[in-house]
């Protein structure tokens, strides 16, 4: 075990972490806004990867160019989800909210399995290929670009939420739905926007990952679990917390896999989750 291998693991973990962070940010935004955890988040990620894949496979559009289309599709999907499902369960008990989004996740996953079969697919010969060699560390080009794009998207999201008028309206709705409504912010519209942006984030992450990741119907489960953990770790509803949490998870995953045993990656992340929620339930950067 040389220092190069550890450095390599750190770089890999960092790159994965940025992607986790963006996925978690979408989840966190939705949670902060309406107190609903989207248990179908992984399936939405899977949908965005498939959208990228089909745009490539049917129209020959490289994943890197189809990103805007994927984002739009996912944002549309978010609005639909809100309009047909979430709208009705806003006032329901938490149990029903969990069951409803869980039902959505089963539904999307099995529909996908029926339509596209559980085969593994990948984008053949994308534009982004090959790897860089910096010192003794190898960095896959698609991974590097993906994590950079995710970072940019994350910063964009952060600026949008904290600086623009719509973003501030979102925050106001998250803090107090009724007070915001009195001030003339339609909460229903804000929720729809929140879903569109939340799933748009997933669209960016999924579209970029389609470059180098295998695309299959169960791909989202692990990412969704990591996103749940990242959201809990960063503090439910805190967007900037997701960035740190995502990076921590990426590092734990890759270093744990390197130093102990790669087949138990999920367990290390799980241990982190348990420690955090037991000793610091508000998360590392939570506002509650």
């Amino acid at each position: 075990m040389t220092s190069e291998i550890i450095l390599q693991a750190i770089v890999t973990g960092l790159m994965m972490g940025l992607i986790y962070a963006l996925i978690a940010a979408g989840l966190s935004l939705i949670f902060g806004l309406m107190d609903i955890v989207n248990f179908a988040h992984g399936e939405h990620l899977m949908l965005s990867m498939f959208s990228s894949f089909w745009l490539w496979s049917l129209f020959g559009l490289d994943p890197i160019f189809s990103i805007p289309i994927t984002i739009l599709l996912m944002a549309f999907c978010g609005v639909i989800t809100h309009y047909f499902l979430i709208r009705y369960i806003l006032k329901a008990k938490m149990l029903i909210q969990i069951c409803a989004t869980f039902g959505l996740s089963i539904f999307i996953r099995s529909i996908a399995q029926l339509l596209w079969t559980p085969d593994f697919r990948n984008v053949d010969k994308p534009l982004l290929e090959g790897r860089l060699e910096i010192g003794s560390v190898f960095i896959g080009q698609p991974q590097l670009i993906a994590s950079l794009v995710c970072l940019v998207a994350f910063i964009g999201l952060y600026l949008f939420v904290t600086k623009t008028e719509t973003g501030l309206a979102l925050q106001a709705t998250a803090q107090d739905r009724h007070a915001a409504e009195i001030l003339g912010i339609p909460s229903n519209k804000m929720f729809a926007i929140g879903w569109a942006i939340g799933l748009g984030c997933v669209g960016v992450a999924g579209g970029m990952m389609a470059n180098y990741f295998f695309i299959f119907t169960d791909v989202g489960i692990n990412f969704a679990l990591f996103a749940f953990v990242a959201v809990a770790l960063g503090g439910f509803g805190s967007i900037i917390g997701c960035l740190y949490a995502g990076i921590i998870i990426g590092l734990v995953e890759s270093l744990g896999g390197l130093l102990i045993d790669p087949s138990f990656k999920l367990l290390y992340v799980f241990v982190i989750y348990l420690l955090v929620v037991i000793y610091r339930p508000q998360g590392l950067f939570g506002r509650y």
Binding site: F31, V37, L85, Y88, I89, A92, K93, M94, L95, I96, Q97, I98, C99, A100, F102, G103, L104, S105, I106, F107, I108, R109, S110, I111, Q113, L114, T117, P118, I221, L225, F228, V229, A232, F236, S263, F264, L266, L267, F270, Y273, L274, V277, I278, P281
Partner: protein, 337 residues
């Protein structure tokens, strides 16, 4: 508030409408008599699956319906039960009847172990943690060489039907009766539980933890008790299932689908109600088995599409489940006089 107090005062443990008692007794006799009408093995299988899933859903109902904690990884206890009997039968030839209680104890032990740190969490945190636990169990068993890792365990077949080895190859009737007895006993236990002080305290914990705390109900202790009871109901179903199909592997008995279906059955039938799981299972399991026959099971996953759809529709239109169509005074208690 006044009204609730009146109801609580008038309520005794056995004050159920006579019609309901007759109906239940009649149903039990009918179920016991059913195999004599010459059911073919498909229908026996269907009934066995209904009984099994009803008990599994009832187990989930105890933790989610009564104490309000949503466990998304309940399949873990099912798997523990299944592995306990199969492993000891294969390695040491111990009869499943002896190892089944052991499986129940192990399951309860794990529930305590998991429950103590995790039931301090509430709501989403607990749900996510259990989701992770369910998958962790699967991951660990997939890599655990002692119990056959990913290829699982094959229970050696006995030459002929044997009660001590719990294997019946000539007909499914014996399985039918075993599952039926477990089904009835479990429901009786949970029914008693729901009308005992423990049941009321659990519901108090679910509805308002702060108020429960102020009435000297130790909230986290009661949650753990509910979790342990729930786990102990789940485990024997795993054991019986393992003896029924005689081959288990992590992907089958720790599958997330098990955690999904118990949730779905309970929510469909009516969560927090003893009768909910029966109604849910007797509607959902036939749908699932028939869709597997006519639409093809593997890969197609048509039954899962239906599950997801039903779950969403129920959540939107009938959050209290199908049981809410039944007038409450018939099922719960005599009409107030």
């Amino acid at each position: 508030m006044e009204n609730k107090l009146l109801i609580a005062k008038s309520e005794t443990l056995w004050n159920t409408d006579n019609r309901v008692i007759y109906l239940i007794s009649g149903l039990i006799i009918l179920l016991f008599a059913l195999p004599f009408f010459g059911l073919n093995s498909f229908y026996l299988h269907l009934f066995i699956m209904i009984f099994m899933h009803a008990v599994m859903a009832q187990s989930w109902n105890v933790i989610a319906g009564f104490s309000g904690q949503i466990s998304l990884g309940h399949g873990a206890f099912f798997g523990i039960g299944a592995y306990a009997t199969s492993f000891f039968y294969i390695e040491y030839g111990i009869s499943p009847w002896i190892s089944m209680p052991f499986g129940i104890l192990v399951s309860g032990f794990f529930a305590v172990l998991i429950g103590i740190p995790m039931l301090r969490l509430s709501g989403h945190y607990f749900a996510i943690a259990t989701l992770l636990i369910g998958i962790s169990f699967q991951v660990v068993f997939q890599r655990w060489d002692l119990v056959g890792a990913a290829s699982g365990l094959w229970v050696p077949m006995t030459a002929e039907d044997s009660w001590s080895a719990l294997q019946f190859h000539s007909s499914k009737v014996s399985y039918y009766y075993i599952f039926l007895v477990f089904f009835i006993v479990t429901f009786f236990i949970v029914w008693l539980l729901s009308r005992s002080k423990l049941g009321y305290r659990l519901r108090a914990v679910r509805d308002d933890p702060q108020a429960a705390l102020s009435l000297c109900i130790n909230v986290s202790n009661y949650k753990i008790i509910a979790y342990v009871i729930s786990a102990m109901i789940m485990a024997p179903m795993g054991s019986l299932f393992a003896q029924y199909i005689l081959i288990i592997d992590p992907d089958r008995v720790f599958n997330i689908e098990i955690s999904i279906i118990v949730l779905l059955i309970t929510v469909l039938g009516g969560i927090g109600n003893v009768w909910g799981p029966i109604i849910g299972a007797s509607i959902l399991i036939p749908i699932s088995e028939y869709s597997r026959i006519y639409l093809g099971g593997t890969g197609g996953a048509v039954d899962l599409i239906i599950y997801g759809l039903i779950l969403m529709i129920i959540c939107i239109f009938r959050p209290d489940g199908l049981i809410s169509f039944v007038p409450k005074d018939i099922l719960e208690r005599k009409k107030q006089r």
